[in-house]
Structures are given as C-alpha cells and as structure tokens.
C-alpha cells in the first residue's frame, strides 16, 4: 500500500519524461520525438525548473521563519513551554498547507511544498526538544527523543511527498541515536554500522526486478547514501583528513586511535572491503551512484591508509595519489576503447548522456579557486616589504598591494 501523495503511474511518467529530456540533450532523439513522449507522459502535475525551485524553497522558508518570528514577537510570549507548544502548533498548518498545495494545485517538487513540509518537521522537533529541555530531562534523553522524532517525521515526509533528502535526514537523525546510549566509542560505531546495515538490508529486500524504474532509481539513491554512511562509520582515521587542513592535533597521536587493536584492524580491513563490495555490487547491477560512492570511498581509503598504518605523511603524497588516479583512469579508457565498438561487457568510456549545461560547472569554479592556491603556497624567502603579504588569485605570483 502506497501512502504517497503521487501515484506510481505519475512518478513513472515523470521519470520517463526526465529520461527523454536527457536523450534529447544528448542528441539521441529529436525535439519532435521528445514532444511525442512528453504528450504521452503528461501527468497533470505542476513542475518548475531547478532555479525557480530553489527560489521557491528559499523564499517560502524565509516566509515561514518570519511568520513564526512575528507571532512570537507580537504575542510577547517569553515562557519556554508556551514557545515550545507554539512551535509544535505551527507545524500543523504548515504541513496541511504543503499537502493542500499538492492535492489542489498538483505541485511536484515545486519548492514551496518542500519548504513547508520540511519546516513543519523542524518546528515539531524544535518545539519538542525545547519542551523536554524545560522539563529538565537529561540532555542525552531529549537529544535521543528529538532524533527519533526527527527521523520519524522526516521519514513520513519522504513516504508522503517522496523527497529523497527527507529520507537522508531521517537516516542522519537515526545515526545520532547510538551516540546517546552511553556506549563505549567502539560499541557506538558497531551500533551505528548495525543500524545502517539493517536499513540497507531492508532497502535491498525492496529491490525487485518488477519494480517501476522510478522506484529502482529511488532505492538505488538511498542505498548509495547508506553505503556512504557505513563507510564513514567504519573509517576511524577520517578525522585525520580534516586535521591536515585545519592543523589541529588529531587522533593519530593516540595508538590505534584510542580503540582496541582488534577493533582497529577490523575497521582497517573494512575500509577496503566496503568500497570493494560496493564497487562489485554497483558494477554488477550497473548502479551509477553506488559505483560513484564506492570510488570516492576507495580514494579516501588510500588517503587515510598511512594514518591507519601509523606511517609519516609526506608533501608529495597527494601527487602520488593523483598520478595513480590518472594512470588508472587512463588504463581503463584504453582498455574500454580497445573493445568491440569501444565497449567491453557493456561499459564504454564514450560520452553517451550529456549533463545539463548551466554555463558554469563545479569543475570551472574549482579551477578558479584552486589555481589561486598555487600562488598562495609559494615558499617565501624574501624579507617583509611594505604593502606586501597578500596572495594572488590566479596563475601568477604572490604578493599584494
């Protein structure tokens, strides 16, 4: 039984329409053919483009905050219990409004209903946590109860509206639970991985070959998210990556990162095993997101390997990792190109499906930012001069006005 506000048929048609848009962009079908597909997949729901969706979301959220703020200011409520009940009460009309917009105006990923549904969840949890705080509950208890409430309400929003990020919020909220149970750090990790594994297992059980395509896509996205969560939970040396950036002393000073040796080495093996299994599953079933998450995890495993083994980091380590990545990618490209019609086992290095072009990509932005770091990282042996000391922003030298 589905409790979604949208029927499976609507979701499937929306999925087909989205796929057809990608085919048109990639030159696989003509505009006329896209028109035919679009006419047959008309669901009657009201959709908008991604930029309007962002604007709708942001301004609806701003409006919700202003309405709640104005109410609290106008009524002069200062009592924490009343504030808590007010916040929880506000969650009801916002949620009802979100549902109404979907039912009456057929909104689908429009931003407005998303902001309303999400803010109703946040207001409910904020009010609840505030109430628990007033009732002098133990902090651990109200964080635990708040997390469970957040997980339940976000999961409801996911089931009802289908927002994938609501499912991610629900999973993230559940991940807080093991850390509030007074367990040892090792047991906290075990409990966390167990919760994520359980959710992954339940998710995998729902994957049936007879599922509609949109459902397969949704489940695969959640699986990838859970896989990423499992990897983050098992890698004990992950904070070391951020320590290099921040310069703060990390856990490397403690032997086995403060864990028992057996547990430590088990997680070490798992940092290799999780990406390997993920990659195997992703490649076998051709699930792009799982392949991507597994590859990123594998790179992180290589980056944290020295920390695990207690070896010294050298400045050229990133360069070696970079060279390995380029060589491996180059090898795969050559291997695929050498296959029949540029394909091996159905895999190709050719660009088949083109992404949306917005004029600027994250890679362009990354290049613009990272290149400035080149100049900023030059060795400085010259004496300090007046007006000096800046870092240039591009391919040049480091100094300033």
């Amino acid at each position: 039984m589905s409790i979604s506000l949208y029927t499976d048929e609507q979701e499937e048609k929306i999925f087909i329409s989205s796929e057809a848009r990608t085919w048109t962009r990639s030159g696989l079908i003509t505009d006329e053919q896209f028109g035919i597909i679009n006419a047959r997949t008309n669901t009657g729901v009201s959709q908008t483009n991604v930029f309007f969706r962002i604007l709708f979301f942001l301004f609806t959220l701003a409006c919700v905050i202003a309405v709640v703020g104005f109410y609290l200011w106008a009524t002069g409520i200062r009592n924490e219990v009343t504030v808590a009940w007010s916040l929880m009460a506000f969650s009801i009309p916002f949620y009802v409004l979100a549902e109404t917009l979907v039912k009456r105006n057929s909104f689908y990923r429009h931003g407005i209903e998303e902001a309303l549904a999400l803010s109703s969840t946040l207001l409910l949890c904020a009010g609840f946590v505030l109430l628990m705080n007033v009732l002098k509950s133990e902090p651990r208890l109200f964080i635990l109860a708040g997390s469970l409430l957040m997980a339940a309400s976000a999961f409801w929003v996911y089931l009802r509206f289908g927002f994938l990020y609501a499912a991610f919020i629900a999973v993230a909220a559940l991940c807080v639970v093991p850390f509030q149970l007074s367990l040892s750090p090792a047991n906290e990790r075990v409990a966390l991985v167990s919760i994520l594994m359980l959710m992954l297992w339940m998710n995998l059980r729902k994957c049936l070959p007879t599922n509609e395509d949109f459902k397969k896509e949704k489940l695969a996205t959640i699986q990838a998210f859970l896989l990423a969560g499992i990897y983050l939970a098992v890698n004990l040396r992950l904070p070391e990556l951020f320590r290099i950036q921040s310069g703060y002393p990390g856990i490397s000073d403690r032997s086995f990162a403060g864990f028992a040796p057996l547990f430590y080495w088990t997680t070490y093996v798992l940092t290799f095993l999780v990406p390997a299994l993920g990659l195997y599953y992703g490649l076998k079933n051709r699930i792009r997101l799982i392949i991507d998450v597994s590859l990123v995890s594998a790179v992180i495993t290589l980056a944290t390997n020295k920390d695990y083994l207690g070896l010294k980091h050298y400045e050229w380590d990133p360069a070696i990792l970079g060279v390995v990545m380029v060589i491996v990618a180059g090898f795969i490209i050559r291997w695929l190109i050498g296959g029949n019609n540029g394909m091996r086992h159905g895999y190709t290095a050719r660009n088949m499906l083109k992404p949306e072009n917005y004029g600027i990509s994250p890679a362009d932005l990354g290049t613009a930012v990272v290149i400035g770091e080149i100049a900023a990282n030059q060795p400085s042996i010259q004496p300090e001069k007046p007006f000096s000391g800046g870092e240039s922003g591009g391919g040049g030298v480091s100094s300033g006005y």
């Binding site: 499937e12 087909i16 989205s18 796929e19 085919w23 053919q33 997949t41 908008t48 483009n49 930029f51 309007f52 604007l55 701003a62 409006c63 703020g69 104005f70 392949i291 590859l295 400045e315 990133p318 360069a319 990792l321 970079g322 060279v323 390995v324 990545m325 990618a329 695929l336 394909m343 159905g346 895999y347 190709t348 290095a349 050719r350 660009n351 917005y358 004029g359 600027i360 990509s361 890679a363 362009d364 290049t367 613009a368 990272v370 400035g372 770091e373 080149i374 990282n377 030059q378 060795p379 870092e391 240039s392 922003g393 591009g394 391919g395 040049g396 030298v397 480091s398 100094s399 006005y401």
Partner: protein, 314 residues
Amino acid sequence: MNIAALLKEMHQEGTLSSDQLGILTELHLKKRFSIHRELRTAIYIGVLLITAGVGLTIKQYFVQLGDIAIVGSLTLGTLAAFLYCFLKGKPYSNDVVESPNILFDYVLFFGCTFYATDIAYIETQFHVLGDLWHNYLLVSAALFFFLAYRFDNRLVLSMALSTLAAWFGFQLSVRFPSMHHYYRESAIAYSIVIFLLGYSLHRLGKKKHFLDTYLNFTIHFLLLALLSGVIEYKIASWHFPAMVTAIVAIVAYSLRTQRFLYMLYAILYGYLCLGVVVFNFINDTAGRFLYAIISSIAVICLILILSRKFKESP
C-alpha cells in the same frame, strides 16, 4: 507504462527508428553503460592532487631540491603538456570543438597549472620584474585565454578569468568578502572589462558557448561590489541605481534567453539589496518581520507568474 513499452510503441508507430530503439533500449536496460563522467572526474581530481602535491613539496623542500631542479622540472612538465596539446589537438574552430580524447582537456589543464606554479616560483625567488611583478598575471591570463580559445577548454578559460581578476587586485584571502573601497572599484572595473571582452568575442562569433562563463564571473563580481556599496552608503550613492539597472538588465536577459540561472542570481542579489535599503528605514521589529513576510510572498507570487508564463521543464 514504462520506458521499454513506450519505445516499442513509438517504433511500431514509425516515430522512432530501429537504430534509436536499439540504442535507447540498451541505455535503458543498462546494456550500454557509460562511465565517461566518472573517468573525467577521476582525471580532474588526479590533476588537482598532482598540482597540490607538487606545490606542497616545493614549498617544503625548495632549499634541498634547488632552483634549477624545480624550475627545470616545472618547465619541462609545462612544455611537454603544451607540446602534446598542439600535436594532438584538432584545428581551431569558432564553434564547439570536441576533444580528441578524454585525457586531452586535463593535459592542457595540467600544463597550465604547472606553468602557473613555475612562474610563481620564479618571481617569488628571483624577483625578475621587481615591483612590476603583477604584470606576470596579465601575461599568464593572456596565455590562458589563448589556450582556452585555441583548444576550446572552459576549465582554462576559468583560470584565465581568475588570473585576470588577480591582476585587477583580487585575492583569495579573508579580505576578499569585506569588499572595501579599493576592491569594490576594482571588481566593478574587472566585471566591465570581462563583460565587454566576452560580449565582443560572442558578437564576433568566436566560441559563442563561452559567453556563459564570462557572464557568471561578471555577474558575481559586479553585483557583489555594488551590493557592498549599497550596504555602506544605502541609497545615498550611485551604487543603488547601478545595482537596480544591473538587475533589470540581468532579468531582461534571463527572460529573453530563458536561462533561469540568471533569474536566480538577479532575484537573490535584488532581494538582498532591497532588504538592506528597507531595513535602513524600518527600525521596529514588527515592521521588519512584516516586510520579510510580505516581500517573500511577493517574490513567490512573482516567480509563480514567471513559472506559469514560461512553463519551464525541471
């Protein structure tokens, strides 16, 4: 209804060719699976890591390595990369030129980052140009512009634009967001220059698809600079009318070309600008809350009207 059934139906009706049916079915059933994006990302991150690793190594060990070894290896790396690109690259065309292979774009990018590191090291250590050091930035920007156009590479175009921004005095430092007087004027001058450059080249038909990159840089530099002026002087300076004019122009361009990313920029910057001005006149809390409620509803209604008018797909 599912994709396979729809494709078969269209094929039977004659609206989809047999070739198209074959390719689309294979793509849908994942019998043909492209890992192009993953490979490109791996190479891009790999090149960034190489650049970072080389930079850190030079910074730490430049005394032990010696100037000749550092400059020699960086120059060799740069020349090798550029030589590869000139030998393997396709001839210049004003239109989009597909790269000869996946690696090609990143070899050029690698060459540019090594060139930047090389030049930066030479000037930091030897002060060849002394007080005129910043002219290196202009030369570097010119080289990057040339390479970006020659090989149709947007990554290198971004490098060119950010290097030119550095020549105008922009820095990636904590002082950047503060946008004090000097940076504000510099940003405005920079944005006008790159807009005119991008627009002129677009009008001349040279790599028309590069215009969006120019516009993205122009809009952010210009609107951030003008917004900082509005924050400082409110409506008592030319910044406010200039901001309004710029936003109107961006909205008009967005509507004309139906590129709604620019509408997003215009509405966000415009709302911030208006908020700064209005909050200057409204001092009481109730007024500010009411302004936030009314203005956000007004913006939502405005976008709803636009959304209905253009019936944009997601």
